[in-house]
């Protein structure tokens, strides 16, 4: 562990490498976390199947790749498929628990997470998969060393920015986006004003699934996917939303980059086998920090 710290001091170029990787991966975390913040803010459902949606999107891209088509074409397919999947899950399950106690929705989505990960395991096996983009990796020189940037990471970053801009524009300009924001502010008032909140909930949940699916496509190309990696992605989204608070887009983006960088550093310093523990450690850290914040106002985190 100390050796790794030493290495960072001796070869400062490694810092650039870690920071860049952290930002590339953080952009994807921001997408998934924004989806969670949306569902949480609009319908007060804590979706523990968030990470499984991401992994599902990843498998769609990977599957498209195995058919001999470039996995990037999996992006539109994944968005459409996951949107439909989200809609169906909403109608089947979430619609019945939206009004209930929050723990019920948490558990129901946890049950969904188990079903999805086991189904993926049955369908594709427990091996770690990568959707190969076939794009080259470039090397740059700086600070007396060299660092590498895979072209696909750069493209995935651009796609993330584009998707985020598209979602924000949609929420600001479109009729449905306005309805979603109105429902988030006050569901009953929105209903009185003639908004079909049931439709809005279904759309929000499906939109979240589609965003996660898109994030998953990128994850499968620049990182790895595996049926049981979903829970870590869910926890990442929770860390980001808890740290930023929902309805706070700049906060979500900052927290996502912060988490991406912290995780890359954690993985480097503590060793790759503790990377998952780093994510969970971040969750506990953020929860404790929020508690200390709230304690000053003599309140609990709820």
């Amino acid at each position: 562990m100390l050796d790794n710290l030493n290495l960072l001091a001796l070869a400062p170029v490694l810092n650039i490498q870690i920071l860049l990787d952290g930002i590339f991966i953080g952009a994807i975390f921001a997408l998934a976390a924004y989806g969670l913040a949306l569902v949480w803010g609009v319908m007060n459902v804590k979706n523990l199947a968030q990470g499984e949606f991401v992994i599902m999107g990843g498998y769609i891209a990977w599957y498209v790749g195995t058919l001999g088509i470039h996995p990037l074409f999996g992006l539109p397919i994944s968005i459409v498929v996951m949107f439909a999947f989200g809609w169906v899950t909403y109608k089947l399950i979430i619609a019945r628990v939206v009004e209930k106690d929050m723990f019920i929705s948490l558990l129901a989505t946890f049950g969904m997470a188990i079903v999805i990960q086991q189904a993926l395991n049955l369908a594709f096996g427990p091996e770690i998969q990568i959707a190969d983009s076939g794009l080259p990796t470039h090397s740059f020189k700086a600070l007396g060393g060299s660092f590498t940037v895979a072209e696909i990471k750069f493209y995935s970053f651009l796609i993330c920015c584009f998707l985020a801009a598209a979602v924000i524009a949609f929420m600001k300009k479109s009729r449905m986006g306005q309805a979603i924001r109105a429902t988030a502010q006050d569901a009953r008032a929105a209903k009185v004003m003639g908004i079909d909140t049931e439709q809005v909930f279904a759309f929000t949940y499906a939109l979240n699934a589609a965003i996660c699916g898109a994030a998953g496509v990128m994850i499968s190309m620049i990182w790895v996917i595996q049926p049981f990696y979903g829970i870590t992605h869910s926890i990442r989204s929770f860390v980001i939303v808890t740290a930023a608070g929902f309805g706070n887009l700049p906060g979500v983006i900052t927290a996502a980059f912060g988490l991406g960088i912290a995780e890359q550093y954690g993985g480097f310093i503590l060793g790759a086998e503790l990377q998952q523990a780093t994510v969970v450690g971040m969750l506990l850290f953020v929860l404790m920090w929020r508690q200390l914040q709230m304690r000053r106002h003599r309140q609990a985190v709820q």
Partner: protein, 363 residues
Amino acid sequence: MMAVAEKSVEQDEVGKPTARRNYTANDIMMFGAIVLFGILGPILFPNYTFQIAVLWLMVLFAQTWDVMGGQMGYNSLGNIFFFGAGMYICTVTQIGLFTDVGAYTSSTDQGNFNFTPDQYYIGVAVGLVFAAIGSALLAVALGWIVFGLRGPYFAIGTLGIALAAGELIGAWEWVGGGGGIPIPVYPGSGDGKSFFYYVLCFASAIATFLFLKWLYSTRFGLAINAIRDDEEKAEAMGVHTLRHKTVAWAISAFFLGIAGGLFGNMTGFIEPLEVAFPTITFGIFMVAMALLGGKGTIWGPVLGAIVFHIVKEATWTYFLGWQWIALGVIIIINIVFFQQGIVGWLQEKYPHWFGIEVEGASK
């Protein structure tokens, strides 16, 4: 003090009357049936002794989860942490009393380490005591971290603790890391072993039940119910909420620690992710069982665990690889359509069975 506790009927938050008598005739009948099954079970079905022993552990799981989830309204997803902690504490004690733990875990052939029968039994006894006390102390320590959290944050925070524990133990070579530890071998026949642990599991489940039954009839039981109904008001009425929450969690951890120590010895091999901290199996089972039976009742978790375990074991082999999916589907259906659970449903339908008198209702 006791006058408050013995008041037989009171209203909870949804206006459902809750019984608080000590033992009704139904209680004694149920209890008798369970004890009878506990004694006759391994005699009638000797091949299933291990499975019935696991059934009693499941009963214990559901009951200890219900202390927090049902009676106090703190839904934990990470109680399995104490199960794993107890398992590791018990194993390390069993080995550490008589030999060097690091040498034992790093050895490739644990057969070189011989434990005499006396050493084995002393190891198990001391190990279980340490497991129980150690887990309870861990609960007290973790209470400082998580009890400022409410609702979903509490559930996710505790889930995080259980996941982190599995990862950290997996990286800790002294306790065997991800490779796990083979437990010292039972000095005797296989039948003797399963009988020995059967008795211990059964006794722990019964002890947990009797203790909780007594606990819920005391002032402490009322206080944790008050926390469930409205924590701010309870605090305003002078209930020291943090202390009550910590003690309640330590009680669940105490019994879960024993269960962990027993289960580790029964399987004979422990490792962090699948055996000690199985968040998506035992960790979620305990919640599902308590909900299936009806949370917040004394019999609910017991019945839920029995039904869940028997159905699971009876149908498991017929699903041919689909069992985990089926399990997730069962959990979803249970939660979405049947939230009040078996006992909750019976209470609504036949309140007089539970000694509840509903005003104006015809019997």
